[in-house]
């Protein structure tokens, strides 16, 4: 190895130019403590140096927005003086190395973000991607990531109410584990993280500080995974949900008693990131005495204490007169709390140990001076991804539907979501599988109404790989469609951008096009982005992941009792297809199962028409007129119909004559995908009225309970699937993989 390769700043992930800039900002060479702190604060994970310029395109203003990007979580107004705080964050790299702890601490981290802003966490959702389940590694990652999410969320008493889960080859080495959390607070209780008041005390409370997770942000989250990743195992943090439960109750009690000036969680880059962010937002300085930090193991160096990513810790600023009260509340919750420093007006972050200054840096240099890079996007001239492996050898629609429902991307998610407590806190109005979005009760209003919020998380990497711009627009529309199906109006959106190495032109192109698509879709729907997270460098020797922007949307509905369901409910109800839906096969689940290469581009989308359909359907659900509403997604109309039948336990008889069922058209009609389509059921006059507002076609009738899904084609022939067969096919896919 050459002497150059051993340069400490390179080993920590900084470029030579970045190192020179640090020297310039300090006016001297950094010492080891300072260098390790800069390397974290200037990592992709903390500084967003390859994405920050792009993210400026996203709309961050809206009528319901209370707190936008920049705080630990964003927040929207849900009426009656209440706010919902929410955010999604990735824990991809740790989960690829150690899935149980990686996923568990991902949930722990996003929960801390939510209670750091003063909101009581009320729900978790997760978005997961793994390689195909015929790989032992993917089955291992799935089982343990799901186990870790359940372990943490269940033990802490926050329901996991929804999520999404897909399997594609490009996630084989880099799985994605994105967790979203929501919290509820009175408007006035929303807390910011800026440190204010020189002379105020800085208190660290929660778990002891150990050597776990040292350098996680720079080593794991900001570089590609490759050979020898087992060596990175010590950089994965270990979660303790019991410690977090006490920490959460303690934090919320401290805020209820109005004892804190500001509050911040310790996540990636530990004390370094949390303290410098607090100081930066307040425009002040901080002195931190690392020798006062309670340690899990003796002999830790100052730099180790500053960069440790030990979980379940919080940092708060407290007026000197309130310190004793704060320590008493922490003692009540059996949570260690220590005054480790104070707010200064120096504008510098100083690290002290045994009375010596062991680090002294301008806060601005740490937080704001990391160079931001322009991407060099270039559309690739040849396909980046190999065609999926062919797993379906038939063109017979009668055989395709059960095969598709049993495939890993469409199979029943019950074996996964049954491992999560979706009920604790007594708010869950729609559980997983009841409806397209989860629905949670808000407190009743003074006039006796029962409003609710709805939430959904969506993203389709394969569609975005086909067309980064339109694929991302589709993801935003899909999320809004899910809210519309339960009767909710979208209030705000959070996103997690999971991409490969942005220093490569084709990944830069995917990222830029995707962000442009998200910005356009959010503007078209008038939904602001309240915050989010970026996870780059998700690639290994076999190439990059599918570009995977994940969006989480929160909406509100005025009457929980009328929240929509997806299943057909009453025999004899009319069934209609609604919305500006133009099915196409390239890039669809069927195309994947048939091993077809990804197309270069997806069809154009009439976003305004989709919005209009969503609004009309939302209003009909709110009026209590529709018996079911389900959006058409993976697997097209046939899969959506099967889901409506199985969800409600009712068969259906549909007339597809005139819908285009000749030859290849039949497969496109049944299994083609695209945004804007809905399957609705209800009384015929209600649907007829809706047909005057939006595109709507009557296609059939809800049949007897537990009967069959039957379609009549152009030539009068019939396709018919007994529900028992479809149910059995759909039940097997994931259950078999988890139990093998």
């Amino acid at each position: 190895m050459s002497a150059e390769a051993l340069a400490p700043h390179r080993a920590l992930g900084l470029t030579d130019a970045e190192y020179e800039l640090i020297v310039e900002k300090l006016g001297r060479e950094p010492n080891a403590v300072e260098l390790s702190m800069f390397s974290l604060m200037w990592s992709e994970h903390c500084a967003y140096k390859h994405s920050k310029k792009l993210l400026g395109q996203l709309p961050t203003e809206g009528p319901y927005l209370l707190m936008g990007p920049g705080e630990n979580a964003g927040a929207v107004d849900v009426g009656d003086g209440l706010a919902i705080a929410f955010k999604v964050e990735s824990h991809n790299h740790p989960s690829a190395v150690e899935p149980f702890q990686g996923a568990a601490t991902g949930v722990g981290g996003i929960l801390r973000d939510v209670f750091a802003v003063g909101a009581r966490p009320i729900a978790v959702l997760d978005s997961l991607r793994f390689g195909e389940l015929d790989s032992a590694r993917s089955r291992y990652l799935l089982e343990h990531a799901v186990g870790g999410i359940g372990h943490y969320g269940n033990s802490i008493g926050v329901p996991t109410i929804g999520g999404e889960l897909y399997f594609e080859g490009p996630y084989e080495q880099n799985c994605l584990v994105n967790a979203m959390a929501l919290g509820i607070a009175q408007h006035e209780r929303l807390t910011r993280s800026a440190a204010t008041g020189p002379g105020n005390a800085l208190i660290l409370f929660g778990a002891l500080t150990g050597r776990d997770g040292i350098g996680g942000a720079s080593v794991l989250a900001s570089a590609e995974l490759g050979e020898g990743d087992a060596d990175k195992r010590p950089t994965v943090q270990i979660g303790d949900p019991f410690a977090e439960k006490k920490l959460m109750e303690c934090s919320l009690e401290l805020l209820d008693r109005e004892l804190l000036v500001s509050l911040q969680d310790l996540g990636a880059a530990g004390l370094t990131s949390s303290s410098s962010e607090m100081a930066s937002k307040g425009g002040l300085g901080l002195d931190i005495h690392v020798d006062r930090v309670p340690l899990r193991e003796p002999g830790m160096e100052p730099f180790e204490i500053m960069v440790s990513e030990s979980q379940e810790r919080m940092l708060c600023v407290v007026e000197p007169a309130r310190v004793d009260e704060v320590l008493a509340v922490c003692a009540k919750w059996e949570t260690t709390a220590t005054v480790i420093g104070e707010v200064t007006d120096s504008g510098r972050l100083r690290v002290l140990s045994g009375g010596d200054v062991v680090g002294d840096m301008p806060v601005e240099a740490l937080v704001d001076d990391c160079p931001l890079y322009d991407l060099a996007p270039e559309k690739p001239s040849a396909p980046i991804y190999p065609a999926p492996r062919r797993t379906l050898d038939t063109d017979d629609p009668a055989a395709i539907l059960p095969a598709m429902l049993g495939s890993w991307n469409l199979a029943d998610r019950r074996p996964v979501f049954e491992q999560y407590d979706c009920l604790v806190q007594s708010r869950t109005v729609r559980r997983p599988d009841d409806a397209d979005a989860a629905v949670l009760l808000l407190p009743p209003t003074a006039d006796g109404a029962h409003p609710a919020i709805a939430v959904s998380i969506d993203g389709s990497g394969r569609r975005v790989a086909c067309d980064p711009y339109r694929g991302t627009v589709e993801a935003v529309l899909e999320c809004a469609a899910n809210l519309a199906c339960v009767g909710a109006e979208p209030l705000g959106l959070t996103n997690c951008l999971n991409f490969g190495n942005p220093e490569k032109p084709h990944i830069a192109w995917q990222l830029s096009e995707s962000v442009r698509g998200m910005a356009d879709a959010c503007r078209a729907l008038d939904v602001p982005v309240v915050g989010g997270n970026v996870s780059l460098y998700n690639e290994g020797p076999d190439g990059p992941i599918y570009p995977t922007p994940v969006v989480g949307m929160v909406g509100r509905l005025p009457d929980a009792a009328r929240a929509g369901r997806l299943g057909f409910a009453i025999e004899g109800d009319a069934i209609a297809f609604a919305g500006p839906f133009t099915p196409s096969l390239p890039g669809s689940e069927l195309a994947k199962l048939r091993g077809e290469a990804l197309p270069d581009g997806l069809p154009e989308i009439d976003v305004a028409a989709v919005r209009k359909a969503q609004e009309a359907i939302r209003d009909a659900v709110r009026r209590g007129e529709l018996r079911s509403a389900h959006d058409v997604a993976e697997g097209g109309l046939a899969a959506a119909l099967a889901e409506c039948c199985l969800g409600g336990g009712h068969g259906a008889t549909l007339d597809f004559r005139g819908a285009g069922t000749e030859g290849e058209r039949l497969l496109e009609t049944l299994f083609g995908e695209g945004p804007g389509g809905f399957v609705l059921s209800g009384p015929r006059p209600v649907l007829a009225a809706l047909a005057r507002e939006i595109q709507l076609t009557f296609v059939g009738e809800v049949g007897p309970a537990d009967d069959a899904l039957t379609l009549t084609l152009d030539d009068g022939a019939q396709l018919s699937w007994p529900l028992a067969d479809l149910r059995a096919a759909r039940a097997r896919g994931l259950a078999d993989a988890l139990d093998s």
Partner: protein, 224 residues
């Protein structure tokens, strides 16, 4: 009447239990470190993960100061209901027969289950009918009730099994499909499913309310 709902570090379902109790009476949260039961008429030991389920489920909570008072209250005939982790705590405290083992699948399962009411002439089921089916969610990793053969026989002979999983619903492998069991005296009852999550039509069934109503009926008749 007034219920006291215990809160240990790591308890998760105490607010849910409090809300359920408040549908039939008043309810107060009682802190694990206190010993004063504040004159409540009945105790609910709620679900969750007291002390993180460390060591063994319910094993640490059983030694909390409040439990001394709860054991005394139970010996004096006061009604005590243990739900999920509360059931585990009461077994550890020796107030209920048997023990809870890990589920057959070794996984956490959250599922709406049907229960059958075995006896309706009790403190906890007097608002139900014998043979009635209740739809109540269950959610746990360690809910497989077990007792050695002699004890199990005795429990059955005494009619201490108040709730059983309906046919096909026993996902955790409990002996004799036992979902809920009382003590010999009849004033302490524990069950793995969560009746406090089945008290509001907006969030599911209301069948769980019958257990809370039963306790209120009992206290009303005896304390008045």
């Amino acid at each position: 009447m007034r219920f006291g709902v215990l809160r240990f570090p790591g308890t998760c379902d105490e607010v849910d239990a409090q809300l359920a109790c408040e549908r039939v009476g008043e309810a107060t949260i009682l802190w694990h470190g206190d010993t004063d039961l504040q004159g409540v008429d009945a105790i609910v030991v709620p679900g969750g993960f007291s002390y993180g389920d460390y060591l063994r489920v319910g094993a640490i909570a059983r030694f909390a100061p409040i439990m001394e008072s709860v054991i005394q209250f139970a010996r004096e005939g006061g009604p005590v209901l243990g739900i999920c982790n509360g059931f585990q705590v009461l077994c550890e405290a020796g107030l209920l027969p048997g023990a809870l083992l890990p589920n057959r699948t070794l996984r956490f399962v959250c599922r709406q289950v049907d229960l059958v009411v075995e006896h309706a002439d009790t403190v906890f089921t007097n608002a139900c009918a014998e043979g009635e089916r209740l739809s109540i969610p269950a959610k746990h990793t360690t809910g497989c009730w077990y007792a050695p053969p002699e004890l199990a026989e005795q429990v059955e002979a005494n009619g201490q099994v108040l709730l059983r999983y309906a046919p096909g619903e026993n996902f955790n492998g409990s002996l004799g499909d036992v979902a809920g069991v009382r003590n010999e005296a009849g004033n302490v009852f524990g069950l793995m499913p969560h009746p406090e999550h089945a008290v509001d039509p907006l969030t599911g069934s209301t069948d769980g309310l019958k257990l809370f109503q039963s306790i209120a009926n009992h206290v009303g008749a005896h304390v008045g």
